[in-house]
Subunit: 231 residues, 2 copies
DNA sequence: GTCTATAACGAGATAGAC
DNA sequence: GTCTATCTCGTTATAGAC
């Protein structure tokens, strides 16, 4: 009994993975807007209606790809943060940034899916919220560690921004000083600005040595949230 | 004779504009990947082959939309830079950033077209390079002015980055100190990181007071390239 | 229960003949 | 420029195999 159920479950997992793999291939070739259940089925030698056993709709397949992508980049960031690298919080910050960029360069179409233009007609369900926050949570954790080690100096915070800073802090990182939390959100978005510009072609004919340029910029982002250069 | 030619030329301009307007409407509804000459023609009550007298291919229509978008955001930046606003280079920097953001919020689909995911199968021709650089040139001009007024302090430049910094400077802004040019390119990409995150939904449930948050972050970007807070 | 296949729907794109 | 025949798509209903 259990072996039959196990076999079925295994088959289901394998087919689900094959569907997502083929969908990712199509993502690369045609873009998310043109992702087609029928084409995926055709390529897999299945009939389109059979796919509905695995994904209730095209949007659910898209959601699965989005969740997978967020999880993959989030896991890469977590691994980089946990790794024994060069010591010091700023060095760890930089290595998290590098890991995110490396994942993006290795998976440009999945990166575009989650950090590029929204897919027309698709609206992300609640399921994506958790995975989408993983990279941010890594950065927050890093700031928390630095704070505990006295290796972070909160940047100045203007009075106009204080109410929003306090609300934001309470929502996403209650144990950080509001000035750090605000700077962190800005640095987080700016990190992806660097990566998107590189990946989407804005650096063509402008930046040639992308790795060294990025490393430097990532380091400055770390200092912008108050991380001490030495620690 | 000339009046007939004038009328013809006028009609051509009007129809070209109508085609682009309708294409922009479709851009908003379906996304750039699905932009279809036929659908545009149908909506305008023309037959698809007639459109080819105005745009030789779908890609040429896309290119025209891209050039228009770059020109629009570039013009907005130029206007903000030239306007008599609050004095001081940092204030002018911030007002250029605000103008870019305001344009993006007002034209989200055109923004996504130029700063979002690349359109699958489309590769931008040389024609887009000039318009694409207008915002960057505004920022470079601003840094140049600040330099002339002694209102900019070049940030530190690491030795690893120096060769690339000098190459980049020679290419895009020969009269700026390499340290400023590098910081400027980083700030430029980070500016669009802030805008893209807001526009593409990453700030949902995170940042509420977007205007004040953005203004603060833009100011920090200006200081990151060395602009003096007071001047 | 779990899956796949057939067939069909309405909507839209596309190619070619005229 | 028009028309038509033939594609694609997402999705559903249904029937039968395991």
């Amino acid at each position: 009994m259990t072996s039959v159920q196990g076999a079925r479950a295994r088959a289901r997992i394998e087919i689900t993975a094959a569907i997502k793999d083929e969908a990712r291939t199509q993502l690369a070739a045609e873009g998310a807007a043109k992702l087609s259940l029928r084409a995926v089925a055709r390529e897999l030698g299945m009939v389109s209606s059979a796919l509905y056993r695995y994904f209730p709709s095209r949007d659910d397949l898209l959601t699965a790809l989005i969740v997978d992508a967020y999880d993959a980049v989030g896991a890469a960031a977590e691994r980089a943060c946990a790794a024994d690298g060069p010591s010091g919080h700023l060095a760890r910050w930089t290595s998290v940034c590098r890991a995110v960029r490396a994942w993006a360069l290795a998976h440009p179409h999945e990166y575009a899916l989650i950090y590029g233009s929204p897919v027309p007609g698709y609206s992300a369900p609640q399921d994506t919220v958790g995975p989408a926050s993983r990279v941010g949570l890594v950065l927050i954790g890093l700031a928390r560690d630095a704070l505990a080690a006295d290796a972070i100096t909160p940047p100045p915070l203007t009075e106009e921004l204080r109410p929003e800073a306090e609300r934001l802090t309470a929502d996403v990182a209650p144990d950080l000083p509001p000035a750090v939390a605000v700077a962190l959100v800005a640095a987080w978005s700016q990190l992806f600005g660097l990566i998107s510009f590189e990946l989407f072609g804005q650096f063509n004919r402008i930046v040639e040595e992308r790795q060294v340029f990025f490393d430097e910029a990532a380091g400055r982002l770390g200092r912008a949230i108050g991380l001490a250069p030495g620690a």
